[in-house]
């Protein structure tokens, strides 16, 4: 495998890792606050559709993005209502949200556009364009560093950079701010937060809202950055891979970046079977690469490679008791 192919594969890795990363960080906020969320998939899907649909109608991807975030946050609100206010089963709520999004997006898309559950192709301002970082063109010819900067680091859409910036930001918010301290506390022992005079409900809703916002960004990137329009079920299990990455990362922001890059890399390789065959000298089934993130996560979950301990109060609705 030559250097340029490598750059290409890594470039694809970054693009494929971005929606995973945004969704993974979304899940991180939610689960750190003690709200399990297997509805990442549904929220991404809703946002992917709404962003593309509104962008197609208005011609502006930014207006679309707002709509997408709004949609994802509305679903997050339902999840909050079910799991915080009505103390329902968070897993069941997540399953319901995934189906709700899978059904509604197609029903509404069919009703709006009549194209068999997809939106029209997007172009121009209705998509997120690529951003060329300064001096990208100038230093492309420098060996090694030039292509890395110009072709790998530069030239992605805005949301890719937003996703990467979210990693340090998430870390800072969680570990260096009052909000982060309280958020982590409410996921570990909500009673401690409650008796300290802080609203458990408020904190958890805040976490769920952030989760909605980030899944909104993730979905928007899928339909307006990675691709040019919405198609039925376009998340294709990415919400679950993000969930897997979150477990893989043991609910930590920097680890999440690593896990998402790894899973993105596997997805990128699945697109280039020739590269694998060229490197390894034998054929590797695409299906194996598809399944690898899930298999790895099961191995991690099994605790054979380091133990993944979720936040202690995760999944449990908070009921006041002495």
């Amino acid at each position: 495998m030559d250097f340029l192919t490598l750059i290409q594969v890594f470039d694809t890795t970054i693009r494929l890792a971005t929606p995973l990363l945004l969704a993974c960080l979304a899940g991180l906020f939610s689960e750190r606050a003690g709200i399990f969320d297997i509805g990442l998939e549904g929220k991404m899907l809703a946002s992917a559709f709404l962003t593309a649909a509104v962008a197609a109608v208005t011609g502006s991807v930014l207006v679309g993005l707002l709509a997408g975030i709004g949609g994802a946050m509305a679903l997050a609100g339902i999840h909050g209502l079910a799991s915080i206010t009505f103390r329902g089963n968070q897993l069941i709520s997540g399953v319901a949200i995934n189906f709700l999004a899978a059904g509604l997006t197609v029903v509404v898309a069919q009703s709006w556009f009549g194209q068999g559950g997809r939106t029209p192709q997007l172009s121009g301002n209705a998509r997120f364009g690529t951003i060329d970082l300064p001096f990208a063109a100038e230093i492309r010819d420098i060996p090694l560093l030039g292509p890395i900067y110009a072709d790998l680091i530069s030239g992605h859409s805005l949301l890719v950079y937003v996703g990467l910036l979210m990693v340090p930001l998430t870390w800072y918010v969680l570990f260096r701010t009052r909000f982060g301290l309280r958020l982590r506390a409410v996921g570990e022992n909500p009673a401690a937060v409650d008796t300290a005079g802080i609203s458990v409900v408020g904190l958890r809703y805040a976490a769920v809202a952030i989760c909605g916002l980030l899944t909104g960004l993730a979905g928007a990137y899928l339909s307006t950055g990675l691709q040019a329009g919405f198609v039925k079920d376009m998340t294709a299990g990415r919400g679950y891979i993000a969930l897997a990455a979150l477990i893989f990362a043991k609910w930590r922001p920097w680890y999440a970046l690593g896990a998402c890059l790894l899973f993105g890399f596997l997805q990128a390789l699945a697109l280039r079977p020739d590269v694998i065959e060229g490197t390894l000298g034998f054929e590797v089934g695409v299906q194996l690469l598809d399944a690898l993130p899930y298999i790895l996560t099961v191995v991690i979950l099994a605790g054979f490679v380091g133990r993944a301990i979720p936040p202690r109060a995760g999944g449990e609705p908070y009921v006041k008791e002495r």
Partner: protein, 373 residues
């Protein structure tokens, strides 16, 4: 002291949840410019209006009985098996291998062999998540989700590789031999003069599903194992104290659950398609979640809920055929049912409990009631 009578818990709450889901679905239909009343009539007509329609409704219901029972059995042990989809896929693989590679003399034996094979493969797919939960504490919800995807990849691999007949372009196995074809309701109930259930896929598996309902009921409420499963589900500490092994209960329950999910394959793979195709399960594993929640994890409730979803599924297909409402509307309804009967249960329950409490206290109007806390 009970907050409300049991009939309210068993009948009223699911009914109210269902009505809420129906109202919201009607609003969705209204919002996309169709007439909900006309849509409902079309659905009833298309799913219950003829023996042909019933033949599809019951066919779908058969799938959902198996997957619903699978989820219900697991819920009794407080395990949430989201892996019905993957287990049913593997069940299909089991049926396919048994139908293709064993020369069966008669369909009765083939049905028996197919059911055993389907159950074994489904159970095997549930075994690893079960074992990991029991021994390593890995959350069964997450692992079964992962195993759904791994199952999809595995079937994909086999159906475009080893199991695909030579020369075929389609990712599917070859047709099963004649002797494995199950009698449909058409074969069983049509007379020379009147053809009933003509062309509908409902087949003898439906009766196997009914037997499964009775068997699960007996298992849960009449056997030691069922007693222990319920005991473990209610209180792990108490189960350990009594000498009930959590490892055994988790593994055995998940094996039964996976086996039931896998057994769905005798209906859709052996009874209907008569070969194994990609995505044969079509989400029935997930509908099992809605069915089990709606049916309050009781086999009889599961049966009723499965019939309801059979009606929705067939009705939805008819709707998609005759109107511009896509089939996915059914997914929306399914989501709403899961939401209201599962996650938002308390939203329905709390006001209802308050109502019953007030009714009971009505003769003593002087007592103050505090807001729910």
């Amino acid at each position: 002291m009970q907050r409300m009578p049991q009939w309210a818990d068993v009948i009223l709450i699911p009914l109210i949840s269902l009505i809420l889901a129906a109202v919201l679905s009607a609003l969705v239909i209204l919002a996309i410019g169709e007439n909900p009343w006309a849509a409902l009539k079309l659905m009833v007509e298309g799913s219950l209006g003829s023996t042909y329609a019933w033949g599809y409704t019951l066919y779908y219901a058969t799938n959902f009985i198996f997957t619903g029972l699978a989820v219900a059995v697991a819920i009794h042990a407080r395990l949430f098996n989201i892996g019905g989809e993957g287990q049913a896929m593997l069940g299909g693989l089991g049926v396919a291998l048994i139908a293709l590679f064993i020369p069966w003399p008669h369909w009765t034996l083939a049905l028996l062999g197919g059911a055993v094979g389907a159950a074994l493969f489904g159970a095997a797919w549930a075994f690893i998540p079960a074992w990991l939960q029991a021994k390593r504490g890995s959350h069964v919800v997450i692992t079964t989700i992962m195993f759904n995807f791994i199952a999809a990849a595995l079937l994909n691999y086999l159906l475009i590789g080893a199991l695909k007949p030579q020369g075929s372009m389609e990712p599917a196995t070859g047709r099963f031999p004649e002797a494995t074809h199950l009698p449909t309701f058409q074969d069983m109930f049509s007379t020379a003069e009147t053809a009933l259930f003509r062309g509908a896929p409902v087949n003898v598996s439906f009766f196997v599903a009914l037997i499964a309902c009775v068997a699960v009921w007996a298992l849960i409420w009449r056997t030691r194992l069922g007693y222990e499963i319920r005991a473990y589900g209610q209180s792990e500490g108490a189960a350990k104290y009594a000498g009930i092994s959590p490892v055994k209960i988790i593994v055995v329950t998940m094996l039964i659950s996976g086996g039931l999910a896998g057994m769905m394959a005798i209906n859709n793979v052996m009874g209907e398609a008569e070969r194994l195709v990609l995505n044969a399960v079509e989400g029935a594993g997930f509908i099992g979640i809605a069915v089990a929640l709606m049916g309050r994890s009781h086999p009889f409730g599961v049966l009723l809920a499965a019939l309801l979803f059979g009606f929705l599924y067939q009705g939805g297909a008819e709707l998609a055929l005759w109107t511009s409402i896509p089939r996915e509307l059914i997914v929306v309804i399914q989501a709403l049912v899961i939401l209201f009967t599962g996650a938002l249960d308390n939203m329905v329950r709390m006001p209802l409990e308050g109502l019953f409490l007030r009714l009971r206290r009505a003769p003593k109007p002087d007592r103050k009631t505090s807001p729910a806390e």
